[in-house]
Symmetry: C2
Subunit: 195 residues, 2 copies
């Protein structure tokens, strides 16, 4: 969640299913499974359409890639292989609260900036902007707080294949000159080291 902070926040409200894409910060120490906090535009209809405390789902996505059965040595042996797709995701289920206290919102924009500017040589801070500009901006957003009741990681990195097939997947992915393939190859490799 920290490495891939842009979450997909899904709710089922009066207008049907809705999803927004927003960076969420994870507060592990709060509640049983932690709390996610972020904000969206006040003009976004999603937050008005959900009942307070209703269920929400935040999805965080990591590397993913198509896996060809051609890469499995076991294809030559018995042919009983098919394509699949590897991916890593986290699903956080919980109750959604809408927050619009200015102090809460200010703390949220500060915390998000501090995290996402942390690798900058001269990190931008909320205090760099004129205070009245920030005050007006806070009026244009609402906070979202998801108190997690169920946290599921889905880790599909060829761990169901025999070790030779997993090495074949790594070779196959590494033969593709793409960063997505390289990221997935690294995860398949890590999972072998864990055995």
């Amino acid at each position: 969640m920290a490495d891939h902070p842009l979450a997909t926040l899904v709710t089922a409200g009066s207008g049907g299913l809705a999803a927004s894409h927003l960076p969420l910060l994870y507060y592990r120490a709060e509640g049983g499974h932690g709390v996610l906090r972020g904000h969206m535009a006040r003009a976004n209809p999603q937050w008005r359409e959900v009942l307070p405390g209703s269920e929400a789902l935040a999805i965080f996505g990591g590397p993913q890639h198509y896996i060809s059965p051609n890469w499995y040595p076991s294809k030559q042996e018995h042919g009983k292989v098919v394509p699949t797709w590897n991916y890593v995701v986290v699903h956080a289920h919980g109750a959604l609260s809408i927050r619009d206290e200015p102090e809460w919102l200010l703390e949220n924009v500060r915390a998000l900036s501090d995290v996402h500017e942390s690798t900058s040589e001269a990190p931008w801070q909320v205090a760099d902007a004129p205070p009245e500009f920030i005050t007006n901006l806070l009026k244009a957003i609402v906070g979202v707080e998801l108190t997690i009741t169920r946290l599921e990681g889905k880790w599909k990195v060829s761990q169901n294949r025999p070790i030779p097939d997993r090495h074949g997947v790594i070779r196959g992915l590494e033969s593709i000159a793409s960063p997505e393939a390289a990221a997935m190859a690294a995860l398949v490799k890590d999972a072998i080291s864990d055995v």
Copy 2:
């Protein structure tokens, strides 16, 4: 949708909100806005928990990246800038049907393989596997068919910023040695050329 085929399929069923990650194929010519087809494991509880014809949301995600206000020349002028996150997604809303006719499923696994093996020198085909293996495999999956009623693209590539800020974003992203940043830089550049 073709470039980023691994969709997040979201439904609201008896067990609450559920999401699966599966490659979906878009059939543009069918229905008003087209149809999406794919399959999931029969063991996945999601398909049993939705009523036939109930609403579903398929989300396809493209490049995304944090955007620092430090990159905007307008920061030096007036300071009235804050961080944001750029992203490109497609939301396909529609009615979900569950399909489990063997012919439908075979056609779906064939079509998916043909698309995703198309760049291979020796594309794997369903016919490469023993027929009885495929027959058994089709019993272990169910098809999902989403007839699209609303198709929304969300394209957040700094197009709301003045042109100098957009060039600043491109420079900022290009200064980060990451493929995600490069992909977003290319989209911000494209959007300028479109003006």
